[in-house]
């Protein structure tokens, strides 16, 4: 069943939204969502890498031998990750410092590799770009939502602005590691609840 271009795009926003439906790429999701800003920044970086690598993989799909395809994908992805890393260092240095080690780690983000393997290797460039964009946007939405939730309750701010006023006692649990796991788990269960109806 062939999907239209629009369907390829929208599936990334709900049906296959990472990391909820495709449980992939959890590490950056948990680590960088201490604040909305970080989540959004990470999301944008992933969108860029995903779109570019999907495009290149699908253009080269007839040349890449299937036995060494994973290695080829990784090299392609790593190249774009370096591009993002250098761009961020030049134009968004504070964000670059905050995300730190998680920018180079986009290389091993299963979402990116997963899309290259499951989609771009089998489809044409236009569809692959759309797919990468859709999944990337979905990923950004998840990161931003989780970041917002954790920042609002964990530090009482939203994009650095105070939400509840000075009397608010921050719920520090949310911005620490355990809160990340619990929060994501609860969001996943809410998604399941909404999806099953």
């Amino acid at each position: 069943m062939a999907k239209t271009i629009t369907q390829e795009f929208t599936k990334g926003l709900w049906d296959e939204i990472p990391p909820f439906r495709l449980v992939l790429g959890l590490c950056p999701v948990l680590a960088v969502t201490k604040s909305v800003e970080n989540g959004l920044g990470m999301g944008v970086a992933v969108v860029f890498v995903l779109v570019c690598s999907n495009m290149l993989v699908s253009l080269l799909r007839n040349i890449i031998p299937s036995k060494v395809r994973i290695a080829c994908f990784i090299v392609i992805i790593a190249t774009f990750v370096i591009v993002v890393e250098l761009l961020m260092q030049a134009y968004a240095y504070p964000l670059f410092l905050k995300l730190g080690i998680f920018i180079p780690l986009i290389v091993v983000n299963c979402v990116v590799l997963g899309r290259a393997e499951a989609f771009a290797y089998k489809n044409g460039p236009v569809r692959s770009i759309v797919d990468g964009f859709g999944i990337g946007i979905g990923f950004t939405i998840s990161l931003t939502a989780l970041g917002a939730l954790r920042e609002v309750f964990g530090s009482g701010t939203f994009f650095g602005m105070s939400v509840f006023g000075p009397s608010f006692q921050p719920f520090t649990f949310m911005v620490e590691a355990p809160g990340a796991f619990v929060c994501l788990g609860l969001m996943l269960s809410l998604m399941n609840l909404a999806g099953n109806k």
Binding site: I70, I74, P104, L105, P178, F181, L188
Partner: protein, 191 residues
């Protein structure tokens, strides 16, 4: 010597790679459903991470830094890790078939385990010496294995419990991981 012990303890417990630094969560959720697979994965990670830590440190110090190609670190490291994993797999299949059978399917998965890549990058960022890198690689990997085995034990019990429908499988897994992280959080006081 005391410094190394302290470093090891801080890497295993205080800064546990999984529960405090969030690296390697995908295999954490994926391979923790059964105790056997958890142990297999833990062993494979220890094995590969120590080798990867040593090799990437040497490459960074003797190849990338002298010729000022630090910005190629990401691509160099991932290629090293991928080929190392491939090599280890072939070597084990030929010479130690028993170990290969045990680790078997987990080895290829390690390439995309961000804990491996992450620890290599941490070693470089923190400017550890070669010996220190070896110690941290081993301890982080041990910490990973420890958390994985503990978590697998809890998860096997959850299978027997009645979990609300929307919370099934991954969702309850994540919440449980949160509780486990909370337990490890207590070690922060030691640092």
């Amino acid at each position: 010597m005391g410094d190394y012990v302290l470093l090891a303890i801080s890497c295993i417990l205080v800064n546990n790679i999984l529960l405090a630094q969030y690296l390697g969560c995908c295999p954490f959720m994926g391979t923790s459903k059964k105790m056997e697979t958890a142990i297999g994965m833990g062993m494979a990670v220890i094995f590969v991470l120590v080798m990867a830590g040593a090799i990437t440190w040497l490459i960074d110090a003797y190849i990338l830094k002298p010729v000022k190609l630090e910005y190629l670190r990401t691509i160099a490291f991932i290629i090293v890790i991928a080929s190392l994993v491939q090599f280890v797999e072939m070597f084990l299949r030929k010479s130690i078939p028993a170990l290969y059978k045990g680790l078997g399917i987990f080895l290829p998965l390690i390439t995309t385990n961000c804990a491996v890549m992450g620890v290599c990058l941490i070693n470089i960022n923190e400017e550890y010496t070669f010996i220190q890198s070896l110690v941290t690689s081993f301890s982080y990997a041990t910490g990973f294995g420890l958390a994985l085995v503990l978590f697998a034990g809890v998860r096997e019990r959850i299978l027997l419990a009645r979990v609300p429908k929307p919370l099934e499988d991954t969702a309850i897994g994540l919440v449980t991981a949160g509780m486990l992280a909370l337990a490890f959080f207590a070690f922060k006081g030691m640092a």
